[in-house]
Amino acid sequence: EAGDWLILMDDLCKRLELLLSKLETTRLGFERHRSNFVKCRGKIPSEEKTFPILNLPPEIIDCIIEKMDFPTRIALRKSCLRLYNAEALAKMNLEELTLYRTGSDEFNFSVKDKHSDMRIQVLNKDGVNVRQWMDDDYASFKQMRQNCVANVHFESRAATLLGELRLTMREYLTRTSAIDKLTIDGFHCSDSSMVQLCQILRGDSIIESQSINTLNLYAPFSTTSDAGLYELLHSCPKLRCVRLAIHRRPLKEIVVEKNFLLLAVSRLDTLLVHSRKLQGREYLVDHTEIDDEFVLRLLSDKCYHLEILYCLPLLTARGIIAAIQRLILRNRPQAVFSAYFRSELCDVVWRLLGLTVGTDDVVTSKDPTIIIYPLGMGNCAVSIGPHLTVKIMRNIAPKMNMSLNYSKIVIITTQKQISST
């Protein structure tokens, strides 16, 4: 009815007026905020003096600079730190990013250039403190410097706190085409920092960071579980290789769960779990119980390089032989499996393998591989792979007489290769 329409229109007008009033209030609030900002900082964000060249991608900045004559290029480097950094970043092709935990909430960073052996470490404490080193000698280092691969500074000049990790990593990741390897030294696996890291790796704006195929986690620690490891696996779709180096101290060590191991071997080509303390005097058995049956489950078809060297698995000689047979049957040229077993099983394993322990030097043969090395304290390690390497340490190994039914056995002494049949 016409009357109803009028009421409806009137109602709509009132609502619009209310909305406009709210918008005006918001606008006035914003203006007030801006004027406060001007008072505090002396400048308005939107009218802040812009430096257009610095808004260009580093690659374009580099493209412009390389068209300048040489003296101009040198002079330009002295004009502005950010420009200097942008050029340096553009010239770097970042391959590896490493984060070192230096304190409870601090990290240092290290990056490696793909096309050179240049490594740049950023010690981001007490102001800018950049240290560089080369894997090669000083002459190469000097030459590299002349080729303009230069210091990289962070804009943040305070110690890198966890809160800044996101920004700092984002800056790196967005300025580089791709990162193949990510190394994190000392990181909580199940606290918020791990979640933060995973968010960064998954972030839409840095899709290319998902190029990470190798993840090295050194000394991760967690008070609860390895939930963070699951997160990382899911965050890096191209991940193929994970190295987990576990610290035995402090006591709040990471617990590697069986389910994580099973998931990892189903997703990865290479999984290495090591313990830094295992070759020392302490032989702590991890909470993860790895027995014969579990080892066989771990020898999946996907993962062809598996090293479980962080605990003393509860393997029997039969289990070891079964694992060896499983690996040989898979017939993968790159297959490697490493685990520890108790030294009292050594003779049994030898006999089951048809080996008589003999020589006192390193013995290497090819196809397939068995690596056996005693670690002291009554324990040995066995590693099985394609290059049939039987390694017996000099001080323990008795005489060895090879009688394996494998093709092509090469015996190498510490002096020279002596036979090949």
């Binding site: 430096f51 257009p52 060249i53 260009l56 374009i60 101009t72």
Partner: protein
């Protein structure tokens, strides 16, 4: 094969639409890839719209340059280190830049075209505009560079000393 009569509609970041010949867009790696990804019939006239992250005013400049360079050989030749010189800009390109380089916001336009050439992957235009900017800087003092590029000196004294030390081998 690119047919001169084929046309493609470009939609700009500020909502405008421009229809241009495929003969022009073939110089843009971005647009060519977008067309390929759409897997449309090459005979479709016009082709489906391709969204470009460039504003209308800048795109018009880009199209003007592309029109002049429509017959340039592709792919754009890679330059060796020796060939990376900034004093070989063709006369038409110099006049083209000069035309809008005299505006009040001259550098903003130049940066906009550089960014557009980068986004649209037009190597020839990117090369030419980078040379233009490089020419503005060549031979200038550090202070003059800062003024032209609107840079501020954000080095600390220690950092400046370090830079001087690094460059000592090639100075004087």
């Amino acid at each position: 094969r690119i047919y001169p009569l084929m046309r493609v509609t470009l939609t700009t970041s500020d909502g405008a639409s421009v229809t241009v010949s495929r003969q022009l867009t073939k110089h843009s790696g971005f647009i060519e890839k977008a067309i390929t990804d759409m897997a449309v019939d090459d005979n479709a006239v016009p082709l489906s719209a391709v969204a470009v992250d460039v504003d209308d005013a800048t795109l018009k400049l880009v199209i003007e340059w592309l029109t002049e360079h429509r017959d340039d050989a592709l792919p754009y030749p890679e330059k060796t280190d020796e060939e990376r010189r900034a004093d070989d800009i063709p006369a038409w390109d110099q006049a083209f830049v000069q035309k809008w380089d005299t505006k009040e916001d001259q550098q903003q336009t130049l940066y906009a075209v550089i960014t557009a050439a980068d986004k649209l992957d037009i190597k020839g235009l990117l090369d030419m505009t980078c040379k233009t900017l490089a020419n503005k800087i060549n031979g200038k003092t550090v202070e003059e560079m800062r003024e032209i590029l609107q840079l501020e000196c954000d080095f600390t004294e220690e950092e400046l000393a370090e830079i001087r030390k690094e460059n000592a081998w090639c100075e004087n």
